[in-house]
Symmetry: C2
Subunit: 274 residues, 2 copies
């Protein structure tokens, strides 16, 4: 599945079927079963990573989630990340920057939320906003946006060198699918809070966003921090795919239960004496 | 269940059956079923609290977990708190203070980790360490410890006034149960990382800790921030009881789905036109 989702130079987002299920030929029920089946391994690998950090392993995983509105970032966090122990997870949702954040370089607020040793970090939006919405809506001068791609590549290489496995995911939905999800938010009073009139305005820039994603992917997909485009019209598939990518990243780290730095038999005797 | 667990002045911790299941007369299987059954309501109430914060509701919940080692704080976070959307949870584990933290008053580091609007905060250990281990092991002068009880009462009243419902839980295990749980950690290589030889040393102070808990509970159990002592020899019961206390706190807040601050029909037409 992983290799089918990986993208880089020459990616054509319009050619990717957003309702596809690359690498998985089952239906929704089968997909949900597969997601549930993967949870146990994900939970154990997360706990091992966390445990290893207690004996000095400084590695971590960072899941970067980028997507158009309604594509399902929240669902990924709730249903995939939410299946592991919350004590091993650090979630950062990046909203519109504060004035203090705007006074610094675009990576300043990002660096403050990087996962610490042993943790799975999740970025719900990320530094990529500074080359996506900033490009599309002109929030930064174009020449400044242009310099950011290389800064991002350097930044992510720095993360890799420091032991953080970066998993970058674009959840890819169709413009029509977004329309029906926005409509659902309007039709359900318990979903009104998720609706923002600005979401409709952004739809006019859909093609510009796709172009900005394409550019970002082309300029920043590297061997150490590749991009994955996950078709997301089917929520169950997107969740399964991201779980798969996380499992792959954690398996790659192969964290081990720490060995005792005490004499187990001595401790058993000391304990027995209490 | 709540009223059976609530304690205050005159609490006798040694008289509480740590293997009891106050307010629940089912067995382990029934308890696990009840926990699973409560998850749906907990999830919905958490989401409502979170949603309400998006339209200005500043309220939050803070679960304070205190316990002797191995009593199951981690299991509560994993199995009870972990059942809701991690995006609505803020967990703070308070370890040995850093030199910077020690240079400040004992509430300084606590204030920085209070739950923000709409969140369920969890303190894995808390400001109470400053009147528990500090009292038992003499980490602070006794007269300083004495002044902290009133400071804590004022602090928690301030939280209540600011809209934070504080739920304070002591997970109460027996000294024998701790012994068998420590032994299990020694017998399983995948649990060695959770074992600390210092845990055995602390067992010599068990009665002093119980006395420090009794004092803390007597001095700081108030109407706005009462203490609950949850028998915890049976993990399934402790989890069910804490879920019950969280459900009760969230029901008390009665957060509502925000009403739309836009014209739903107008938005439907705008969306249809895109």
């Amino acid at each position: 599945m992983k290799e089918l989702l990986r993208v880089g130079g020459g990616v054509d987002l319009s050619a990717i079927d957003t309702s596809g299920t690359p690498g998985f030929d089952g239906d929704k029920d089968a997909g949900e079963d597969a997601l549930a089946a993967g949870t146990e391994e994900l939970t154990e690998l997360q706990e091992k990573l966390f445990a290893a950090s207690r004996s000095g392993d400084t590695r971590s995983v960072l899941l970067v989630l980028q997507a158009m509105d309604t594509a399902g970032k929240g669902g990924i966090v709730k249903h995939v990340v939410g299946s592991v122990d919350p004590q091993g997870v650090e979630i950062a949702a990046f909203k519109r920057p504060t004035p203090e954040e705007e006074a610094h370089g675009f990576l300043w607020r990002i660096r403050k939320r990087l996962p610490t040793a042993g943790m799975i970090g999740v970025f719900d939006r990320s530094h990529y906003e500074s080359v996506l919405i900033h490009r599309v809506r002109g929030l930064s001068p174009l020449d400044e946006v242009e310099t950011r791609y290389a800064q991002i590549v350097d930044f992510e290489e720095e993360l890799r060198a420091a032991g953080t496995t970066v998993v970058k995911v674009m959840l890819h939905i169709s413009r029509d699918e977004q329309k029906s999800r926005l409509l659902e938010r309007l039709e359900r009073p318990d979903k009104h809070w998720k609706y923002n009139p600005g979401d409709v305005d952004e739809r006019a820039y859909w093609d510009d966003y796709m172009d900005a994603y394409r550019l970002a992917i082309e300029r920043t997909s590297t061997d150490s921090a590749p991009w994955y485009v996950v078709p997301a019209d089917r929520k169950w598939y997107a969740r399964l795919a991201v779980q798969h990518l996380l499992l792959d990243a954690l398996r790659g780290l192969d964290a081990q239960w720490p060995t005792a730095d005490f004499d187990v038999e001595v401790e058993k005797r000391r304990l027995a004496a209490t």
